[in-house]
Symmetry: C2
């Protein structure tokens, strides 16, 4: 097969790494995604850069750590000037399009300052995280007493639903994300008690099939090399799914809860704080967890079926032959493990994600169906795409903090990564208030070297530490263990080196810095030169043998 | 007196903190600068953020650490999107103008990407570090076999010199920065052996008086509140000065060299590397040091005399009554101390600078003539200016990493800074080659808490440590001392916390993050809510009591 001409970059939202059969789930069968794994490489130790939609995605889309790009929480704008996937790929002649979710918020103030109009081509791209928009759908149209969470959320999808006969001002909520009782009352998917209800929507009109079709529509009409970010909303909450998926899974299919009494009795204020948040308390209840798991697994099964539809179509249209396909997620979901819900902490349930890459090139034939256990990060995707688009990600290593996975896909050696890093900024959460933390201190960092996972907390809290070799469930916190002081010291050294990295030095390449060494003298800057004989004649030529008039006491006036 | 309406921000280049009489120099009398100290506050422990023109200035002009803005060496462009002094002050209705040097290099690639034309108003400001340009003069027109160091350097000044009768294509070099012998041969100021020669220029045509006049011309014509950055080129090299200054100082006036045999025998590869650079070797020679000191002290004396001219004029024109005046420098000069020349290391000779601020407000009357020994940094200036311009720097503390000095000027309490930080990136220097360092590793960091100064080196080198209480000359390196391991550990903790700071999170204020705590539910995002009764009715109102049609098995087609 030829070199990949296009990239289909599929992201699910909140899909745990271990809820696919190719990653070992014993009951949730995902044959279509598994098929991609059989055709490509399944990365078994892929980590995201922040356990929350917005910052994780901004890292994926910029190829940079959150500590570098700064968009550290949902709706913290990605600042003007940060280079995105679209910037890099378009420079290489590859279009970069969005179908689905980004959770990007534009830096309106920065745009105003630079005079960038949101409706100009450049302004629109800056507003949309570098993507050209086929359809943006963040899948979010919540409404509360202060209005809509996202004024532009799901507008197009709502319009689609209305055309299909779903009535009201917010069918996204009333149908796609709610059930219904016999009296016609909406059973909102926002209430976890309703998660075992079937969504009140025909399956083909629900969000995942809708976005699949939108993706195919884009691809069918696309010309030129393209990267399509097909970015699904699910299995992210609201946790509710239509039939037949709603009734597909029950307790016999669930993974057991990974949680211990010792965890519940932790003395760690931040860990305990997350357990005590409403979502932790809700998922600590078995009845709630069971209801949600039915929906969550059903949603994933639906995702897999839609992937099947998509892949069949790609084969039929020939795109499977010229398109690299990536399947991943922006983060996982605790689902009650460690007495937590959601994702905003650093256990594998949250920060480890599925990552499967299919490369149609014959150079990748040797790796098809293999599993790669190299530590990789979501910031590695953009360098990979740059290489696929014909660029050289290594030349961009002053901007891109990840590394191309192409060598791993093609059976070559890639420099092993010796640790992965993840961050979480909870400065806008109620927990920061409870702990009395200034926004600068309500932040935590993870370093994981493949065995030891340490969590550092700003704000004066002790670290947490897990040995994943002996404790793969991450339930035994060694953060205060005297016996592990040296381990922690070594991990702190790693984290310190990481924190000191020149992440902001993006306007000059490392190659240019190396090429500059010793070259200022060639432009006449002579430092520490006592007399002309100290340098070779060429370097002083402009400064010797010159004649001038004596102007020291000149009285020439103008 | 009224609140200051304007700011005159005077910066010298490479002026050591201790080469002014108000800072204790016993022989170099600088009565005019001293007079400003008597009228304002003299900060005795002011530190810059990087010991090199470009990065130090970019920190001053952005109010941010080098690790945050990324312009870590001369001619590393300041990236589009970094907010500058001009951005902040213009937002407050104060103009921000340049007369002199910035060492700014525009981010041409970033501007191209965002469609910013260099000749548009916004593009010009982005190109010039946020300043509107009255005159840009970096004072640099070196020429070597590869051409001019700065294609635009000193063009206007050269034109001025030509009009005044100084001939040739580069009178900046041949006259302003060279001497002449009896045969009419140019004695280039690039060669330190010529530093004791008088520059071949009438004193009033040399760079310092020229820029003083340009500053007065700007101020005379300025309307509206303004900040004028009068940014002198001197006493920066080429070290040469016209008469009468050239003959003004001799060995009896020199400070003794601060340097020990132990320093020369250091086992530290980076420290030794700087000593061994040509400039270190040159300044280790007493004859060279003596010649340069004559010029250096003469240049400073000339600077002080010009400050006298300027201040007299400001008084005459009334500007002394409505203008805050700041005098500082971008870094110092080793002048052979510690067997080094130039400035690219972290001893006080290099990183401690004079900083005098005169505030005409009567609120500052109580502090006139006082000395403030609080640790301050050059990034504190921009927050101070924001406050003077009527803003609130505290509200910008997600962008500005310094703190306003206004409370200190007005006798109030300011939160004490417990450490200052400085960085140096030598990744583009020959030393990085000699040490075999990748650009990411050729970097070093200083933390100084008022007593202990520690230098951390990337690349695997041991730290250096000085106790300035017992060793104010900083000649006794305790970086390998077992007895000081705890001190180093504590300083490493400080540096780690500093490196982890959210320097890139500039698009949302800390106040906004705090205000957001617990507010997403008010926009309808309900996380971990099991049933509607778990929340107050207002928060669930949009999700309850709704009616829908049963669409689960609907066969409505469109």
């Amino acid at each position: 097969m030829a070199e990949p001409r296009n990239i289909l970059f599929i992201m699910f939202d909140q899909l745990r790494w271990d809820y696919l059969s190719c990653y070992g789930h014993p009951h949730l069968k995902t044959p279509h995604i598994d098929r991609l794994a059989a055709m490509g490489v399944r990365f078994d130790r892929a980590y995201i850069q922040s356990p929350l939609c917005g910052p994780s995605r901004m890292s994926t889309y910029t190829g940079r750590y959150v500590h570098s790009h700064g968009a550290s929480w949902n709706n913290v704008p990605l600042k003007v000037g940060e280079l995105t996937m679209g910037d890099h790929l378009r420079d290489l002649g590859m279009g970069c399009w969005l179908v689905g979710k980004t959770h990007m918020k534009a830096d309106a103030e920065g745009m105003r300052r630079l005079g960038l109009e949101p409706d100009s081509v450049i302004g629109a791209r800056v507003s949309e995280c570098g993507f050209d928009i086929f359809e943006r759908d963040d899948g979010m149209r919540p409404e509360g007493p202060d209005g809509y969470y996202d004024a532009g959320g799901a507008l197009k999808y709502n319009e689609y639903l209305r055309v299909k006969g779903y009535e009201g001002e917010n069918p996204w909520h009333d149908y796609a994300n709610s059930g219904i009782d016999d009296a016609g009352n909406v059973l909102s998917g926002w209430f976890l008690n309703n998660s075992d209800q079937p969504a009140n929507i025909r399956e083909e009109d629900s969000e995942t099939p809708y976005l699949t079709r939108r993706g195919m529509e884009f691809i069918a009409g696309a010309t030129g090399p393209w990267c399509c970010h097909l970015s699904y909303i699910k299995p992210h909450w609201p946790y509710i799914v239509p039939e037949p998926y709603a009734a597909m899974y029950g307790p016999q299919d669930f993974l057991p809860r990974v949680a211990t009494q010792a965890e519940q009795e932790t003395d760690h204020p931040v860990f305990k704080g997350f357990q005590n948040a409403p979502v932790g308390r809700a998922f600590a209840r078995d009845d709630t967890r069971d209801k949600v798991l039915r929906a969550y697994m059903g949603l994933i099964k639906q995702c897999d079926d839609q992937i099947g539809v998509l892949f069949d179509w790609l084969e039929k249209t020939g795109r499977m032959d010229d398109t690299m396909i990536v399947v991943t997620s922006d983060h996982g979901d605790f689902m009650g493990d460690h007495w937590m819900g959601e994702k905003t902490f650093f256990h594998d349930a949250s920060v480890r994600v599925p990552l499967i890459i299919y490369d149609p090139s014959e150079q990748a034939d040797a790796t098809r169906g293999t599993v790669c256990d190299t530590l990789v990060e979501c910031i590695d995707l953009l360098p990979t795409f740059v290489d696929v688009a014909g660029g050289d990600a290594g030349r961009l290593d002053h901007i891109l903090e990840g590394r191309s996975l192409l060598p791993l896909l093609r059976g070559g050696d890639a420099p092993a990564r010796d640790a992965v890093f993840c961050e979480y900024d909870y400065s806008a959460t109620p927990l920061a208030n409870k702990l009395g933390l200034h926004p600068k201190l309500a932040r935590m960092f993870m370093v994981f070297d493949g065995r030891w996972k340490m969590i550092h907390f700003e704000g004066g809290f002790r670290p947490m530490l897990f040995d994943l070799d002996s404790d793969p469930g991450e339930v035994d916190d060694l953060g205060a263990s005297d016996a592990h002081a040296d381990i922690r010291t070594a991990l702190y050294d790693r984290l310190f080196a990481w924190a000191c990295r020149p992440g902001a030095r993006t306007t000059i390449s490392n190659a240019a810095l190396m090429a500059a060494r010793g070259k200022t003298a060639r432009k006449g800057v002579l430092i520490g030169i006592v007399e002309e004989g100290d340098l070779e004649p060429e370097l002083v030529a402009k400064y010797v043998g010159r004649k001038a008039r004596d102007m020291r006491a000149s009285t020439i006036k103008n």
